[in-house]
Symmetry: C2
Subunit: 169 residues, 2 copies
Amino acid sequence: MKTQETSELHQFFIQQLMDVYNAEQQLIEALPTIAEAATSTELRRAFENHLEETNMHARRLEKAFEFMNEPLSSQKCQAMQGLIEEGEEIIDDTEDDTLVRDCALIVAAQKVEHYEIASYGSLRTLAEILGYMEVATLLQTTLDEEYAADDKLTSIATGYINQGAEEEG
Amino acid sequence: MKTQETSELHQFFIQQLMDVYNAEQQLIEALPTIAEAATSTELRRAFENHLEETNMHARRLEKAFEFMNEPLSSQKCQAMQGLIEEGEEIIDDTEDDTLVRDCALIVAAQKVEHYEIASYGSLRTLAEILGYMEVATLLQTTLDEEYAADDKLTSIATGYINQGAEEEG
């Protein structure tokens, strides 16, 4: 790559890191309310575990800024704001202790997970293009955890299929 | 499941189908401009192919409404609107025929793909919970194509790593 290309791509990469750092901060603030709104204990625990992981993801991003000697900063992630608002609307629109509340929270949470999967996947590839291999490794670790969190939500939702079948049977 | 639970979940499912139907319509409108903005021929073709697929995804959703005897309708998907606006900003903020333009378009497009992956994955599971098996199959077919589109974008981005290495060598 030409020097100017590398410099433009580096700026874009830093800007995207700031975006996802803000997204994680918004999520850390929102997750306790979302966890409390869940009907099943299993789903509440999954959200609580994911809050702990999300704190770790924010720490890894701070390390990434350190590795690159860039000042730590964040820029408002509009997409995450919209996704969290969707989750809050679901809590308002559904009743406590219902199956539909849990299904709707899972849908909203999987949209959040996949927003993060797309962000971390792209950032990991950009880090590789730019040759920031330690940063790429940090991002890959978080990416793996986001995939696992998404799988956990699918497995909880799939449990409702069996539950429905048993109650019918 | 109790009858009331099933009915609430059915309503929620229909509402989510309308959301993703609108998301596909927004994408059909936006993709030609995004394809034209791409620097590499490979990326432009990937967007053009995905436009054809997206038309097919909209047709499948129409079939899903038919299967369930529900009137076809859509409701504004705010998240997709935000994601497309991000893509349009990227076109404004980057210069034609640059590597950073393509990398930024790929990041934006992968966020769109993952929004759709989350939507279709959740909808497929909801269809299974509700016992709409033909609809679940339609949704799974689209989900597989969204995953393939995302993989294609990752493989194009990975190609830039090798390209960077060759120019350096």
